[in-house]
Amino acid sequence: MSDTETTQLPKDIAAEKGLVNVQIDGHWIQVPRGTRMIEACKIAEKEVPHYCYHPKLSSPGNCRMCLVQMGMPPRPAPDQAPVYDEDGYQEIGWMPRPVIACANTVGENMGIRTQGELVEKCREGVMEFLLINHPLDCPICDQAGECRLQEFSVEHGKGESRFKEDKIKKPKNVKIGPRIRLDDERCIMCSRCIRFMDEVADEPVLGFTERGTHTTVGVFPGRELTNNYGLNTVDLCPVGALTSNDFRFQMRTWFLKETDSIDTNCGTGANTTIWTRGNKIFRVTPRQNDDVNSCWMPDSHRLNYVCPTDDDRLTAPLIKVDGVHEETCWENAIEAAADALKQFTPSEIAIIASGRQTNEELFMMRTLAAELGIESLAIVAREEASDDMLISADRNPNTTGAQLTLQDKDVAATLATFREGVYQGEIKALFVASENLLEEAGFTKEDLNALELLIALHTSANATAHASDIVLPGASSAEKFGSMVNVAGRLQKLNAACLPPADARSDWEIIRDLVLALSGDSAEQAPQSIEALFQIIATSIPEFEGKSLATLSNLGETITDTGVTIPLVERENQRKAHGEIVG
């Protein structure tokens, strides 16, 4: 090249931006310096099969599935200058032996081949070894359909086993904890579960015993996998070795529909995927969001969901006639509620909202309060100790959202006044949404009986519903669209995974109809869709300005700075900064 001095070489252009040039399957791309080869291949959209590698965990490189062919420019002799081709790259000298893509980083002018005879042969060999002792359990294995071993044995495996010797027998169906079952024969020794318990859950109860082909995963003697983050190991397991007792033999994964939503058990708002078939929820799993919950979720939260098929669900509006609840239609129930509320003066009515309601529902609650002429409404505070991982001290999923939509910094303050008012007999009518007053709210049965009117909007037939004069059946968090703001000020979206049971409806629609019945306005004056309601919020509350529920990503968006951080995410960012994990 004659104009070498005047034109910059690709390596210099890349170096200025902190990048390196890598050739992957014949195409040159630029990736950040220090990227793992497997991540570079992911950027180039080339699949490298792997089992043990996980970006959130350390990389021991023990499954050997991610073997690729690698090449670097040959080192020049002492007096030899590097030779560049017309595009400015050096010729790649391919290495005769493969390397693992998960634990090696890219270098300038590196070449990676994810295809070709050598790589294919390596994968076939690794697959053959992995399948030697693997049982033919696929028809009964819960992992079938989402099993990496199943997928890669279709692509890289042999149709028939050459192994004629007796297979190694290992323990099957071992109860290693209250929520998890282990099948050692299915295990491929990727060690993901061991590393998760050690590095993320910080309770290293799992480990390998024995050597060679007899290697077995097990719990430390005398211990059990009781950790509240244990079920994440089931998600991590690339095969069916670890299965969840909750989901075990319930449904094959290929029947399940996935809906992206969020966890509503605490203020963190972990991103979730809800797996449903028909109108039944079969499981809830964490969904990756590096700013909220990484790839994890606490067991107590994932197992705690309200399903439309639950026995205690309210399925029709109820009105109490002579002390007995009678089913009625929505028109009657709303009309009865509005008429009953009109009998009281504003000072005699109190409204209790909930930090478990969505922004849209809370905004409608505020509209209802304004319609009735009530000045303030209260939510029930739920403060418990944080677990210093993902469970926030605030067990309400939407306290921040309530502060924003109700335009009130201390939304729980008036609750004590209401309680006192009910006790003194000053408050005679109570409208309560999504709360059981006999639990955290601190009301007693006598308080509720002393009320002249109690209207409850809830999903389940709890004690408050039993004491209520009018019961309005609402939708659970898995059955509604809406938004919440988590403790860190992130606006996140709930998507409906199933339909509310029978006559139950979305809460915001119920409150809207009640407001309409009270004001006597025509239905056109109220929002007709959740998006229309969100637009009203967006125009009236500055933090929501310019946002739209339809365009909001399922990963959410930060709309306000609360200064609260999530401990697990903080720790993970530190580990990423130290280069321990890819992140």
């Binding site: 033919l136 696929c138 028809p139 009964i140 099957k172 033999f249 029947f255």
Partner: protein
């Protein structure tokens, strides 16, 4: 593609009158009727019927022993020579079933069962015979050789509920099938 023009056939007066063709047809019918009465029809003794030829007097006579091996009748579950119910409720038949006739509720085998190591079997298995189209895909997809289309074809019922075969009924129809691959035996 070239366009081929087809010439209409030129009809004679006899063709146009239509009546000669009717008489010709009647003549053929009479010929067969006489042959049937004389018991000379092809396949008469094969059907072992009333001697009136190809007409089989169903349901007095049935063709059950004439059914070929590949006949696709009512789908049913089978047990093997070890009296093990072969179905492990993998639900592949439920997945493949084009008219969605199969409903399975999976269940776990209790630990005190001799076949506890199989771990899984159907708690409930229902085939709705008002939906079944006898396509045989369930049999083809089954990885455990547990479901077969049997010889029964006369499924009747007075209500829709009666037309749903539950697990007990399916094993009654299916019976025992021997000589199948048994991967759950002690040597893996």
């Amino acid at each position: 593609m070239a366009i081929i023009k087809i010439k209409r056939p030129k009809l004679t007066l006899a063709d146009k009158l239509y009546l000669p063709a009717v008489i010709k047809g009647l003549f053929i019918t009479f010929k067969h009727a006489i042959r049937a009465i004389r018991g000379k029809t092809h396949g008469a003794e094969q059907f072992n019927s009333s001697g009136l030829g190809v007409t089989m007097q169903y349901p007095e006579t049935k063709w059950d022993d004439q059914l070929p091996d590949y006949y696709r009748g009512v789908p049913a579950l089978v047990t093997d020579e070890q009296e093990r119910e072969r179905c492990v409720s993998c639900q592949l038949c439920e997945f493949i079933c084009p008219p969605k006739a199969i409903t399975i509720i999976p269940g776990e085998i209790e630990s005190d069962d001799p076949w506890a190591k199989v771990e899984k079997r159907p708690k409930e298995f229902e085939i709705d015979m008002t939906r079944c189209i006898y396509c045989g895909m369930c049999e083809e997809v089954c990885p455990e050789q547990a479901i077969y289309l049997r010889d029964d074809y006369a499924m009747t019922g007075l209500s829709r509920a009666e037309m749903v075969n539950d697990k007990k009924r399916l094993y009654e129809i299916g019976g025992v099938r021997t000589g199948l691959v048994n991967k759950w035996n002690e040597i893996k």
